[in-house]
Amino acid sequence: MTYAMEAVDVVKEYPVRTGVFRRQTGTVHALSGVSFALRRGTTLGIVGESGCGKTTLGRSLVRLHDIDSGSIRLNGEPIEKAKGSQLRETRRKVQMVFQDPFASLDPRMTVSSILAEPLEIHGLHKNGRSARIRELLEMVGLSPDYAGRYPHEFSGGQRQRIGIARALAVEPEVLVLDEPVSALDVSVQAGVLNKLSELQRELGLSYVFIAHDLSVVRHLSDDVAVMYLGRIAESAPVNELFSRPRHPYTQALLSAVPIPDPRLERSRERIVLQGDVPSPVNPPSGCRFRTRCWKATEHCAGVTPQLISDESGDAVACHYPEVRELFTTP
């Protein structure tokens, strides 16, 4: 079976330049060997806190910037060096939905021209563009009569639907969703999440779903990868990861998310991490989580733990993995 998308040991670094001569004085290690495989028609959730590299990863996948080493494959074909018509085709097949529905739509374009632009760029639906635009609006649950309106006439949830329609316009295979609902109120967020699952089923789409909200990730994903400082700490099928986390960082993250149930919330075990995420300019040696980990030993500073799978499909990069159940199943 080929995967819809794969990342193999992806590395992306940014130079830090200072002084009058802009000499390079350091390197931001944004992605330090990230690998994943996205099964066709499924959703891979990528979670992690600010600065873990999840947005850099998303941008690498849609080729918004080049990677330094490693490979990104679409249907088994490497795309990290694609040029010309192959790059154009890659960009059609892999589309992105951005976080901020207020910043990602041009305020001076009507919905109709926002949706027509990708069609023009890729030369699709030359005859019948307006029919395609109506179809796209209906697909995301908006009235086709809205085509002539401007973005400011819509609420946040509706704008995000327009952003999704724009991504779908060119019939992509993979959608990279970068925090698509984090700017929305919960009641509106639910509608957009439902719409995303519905579209996935109908169109057979594969999603890379980047988010910091673990509850939303659990709801939408089939597999989840937890990132910490440019590396994957743990990746597993969704229920495995949430009910039987093995990496200490995953456990700390899960225990920190508030649950809207007062009795449960007040009685459950909580792991409070001390300190901040270290700077990606100067990440810790060995395991990057060791500076905040309660299990860390000297071994963790010397040897980088590799991401190793067990028979359940749970892959964990830790020298001392151990299942810890954080939610009592009702």
Binding site: E49, S155, D185, S187, R218, P260, L273, G275
Partner: protein
């Protein structure tokens, strides 16, 4: 002297309106609540529900253009209509606010000790330098900063993000305020830092016994911290109750909708999430009758969309503004029993 039966803060029939050429926007409409000593009241609502305008009104920080009526009493003393000078001495001393962005709110060129000492001195000039310093150290200890005697002389950049949040909280409690307002105290924070901040708020309240107004859109945060909850929609209170009844004996369709639309981290992704149809009304064009009725599956035409909907007391301390409470209860709890 504080009496535990008299509220610290009493808001009665608060109404906040903003007018311009395009019309009048009513952000808060007839809101009443009481905050008891030592209590945490969670005020929950989505964008535009009026929860932040309410906290600004209590702080006296609304722009002059806002038309504010009703009454806001702090330990019996009316705050509405007080002069700006008089409010200056209330703010920071008797009512304090926890700000969200600690890096922006702390001054990078002064040590945290100097900044804490200033916060105390502004309202109390009688203290000597050594008393102020002792107070600063005590405050750092209260918010759980290790070795406060050493760290009091450090600058903000020497602290981690979570520690800076703690310093912000220490500043807001510097003068033992009667009321602490935490307006979305953790919204932009990463979950592990959020957990730290919530921990500190809990700890501070245990130690100081101050009352807290916790303004948030996150029912998870409320579940862990609040004693009582007030749910707002389009400027009005829709439900008010102690923490457990809000979650386990939910009465109002809007509260129910909010709870059902939240994905849960501790549960398998079941089927579809409940999604409330439509969107909240604009504050310039509020619907007649119950403001949630156009989006409510329980609403009945001719009943819910006319006149003023009364506040109904379900229990002495649980009330909801809805005419279809029996139907909601039957559907929600009758089937399961």
């Amino acid at each position: 002297m504080s009496n535990s039966d008299t509220p610290v803060l009493e808001v009665t029939d608060l109404r906040v309106q903003f007018s311009n050429d395009a019309g009048t926007a009513t952000s808060v409409d007839g809101l009443s609540f009481e905050l008891m000593p030592g209590e945490t009241l969670g005020v929950v609502g989505e964008s535009g529900s009026g929860k932040s305008v309410t906290s600004m009104a209590v702080m006296g920080l609304l722009p002059k253009a806002a038309k504010v009526t009703g009454s806001i009493r702090l330990r019996g003393e009316e705050l509405l209509g007080k002069s700006e000078d008089a409010m200056q001495s209330v703010r920071g001393q008797r009512i304090a606010m926890v700000f969200q962005d600690a890096l922006a709110a702390l001054n990078p060129v002064h040590t945290v000790g100097e900044q804490l000492m200033e916060a105390v001195q502004v309202h109390d000039s009688s203290k000597t330098k050594s008393q102020l310093r002792a107070r600063a150290i005590e405050l750092l200890d209260t918010v759980g900063i290790p070795s406060p005697k050493q760290r009091v002389d450090q600058y903000p950049h020497e602290f981690s993000g979570g520690m800076r949040q703690r310093i912000m909280i220490a500043m807001s409690i510097a003068n033992d305020p009667d009321v602490l307002i935490a307006d979305e105290p953790t919204t932009a924070l990463d979950v592990t830092v959020q957990a730290q901040v919530l921990d500190v708020l809990r700890r501070v309240q245990e130690r100081t016994g101050s009352a807290m107004l916790l303004i948030t859109h996150d029912l998870g945060v409320v579940a862990g911290l609040a004693d009582r909850v007030l749910v707002m929609y389009a400027g009005k209170m829709v439900e008010q109750a102690p923490i457990e009844p809000i979650f386990y004996e939910t009465a109002h369709p809007y509260t129910l909708g909010l709870l059902d639309s939240m994905p849960r981290i501790d549960q398998d992704a079941g089927s579809k999430l409940f999604s409330i149809p439509g969107m909240p009304p604009k504050p310039t064009a509020l619907p007649e009758g119950c403001r949630f009725s156009p989006r409510c599956s329980f609403a009945v035409a001719g009943l819910c969309d006319v006149g003023e909907i009364p506040v109904i007391d379900i229990d002495p301390d649980h009330s909801a503004v809805c005419l279809r409470l029996d139907e909601v209860r039957e559907l929600r709890h009758g089937g399961a029993a």
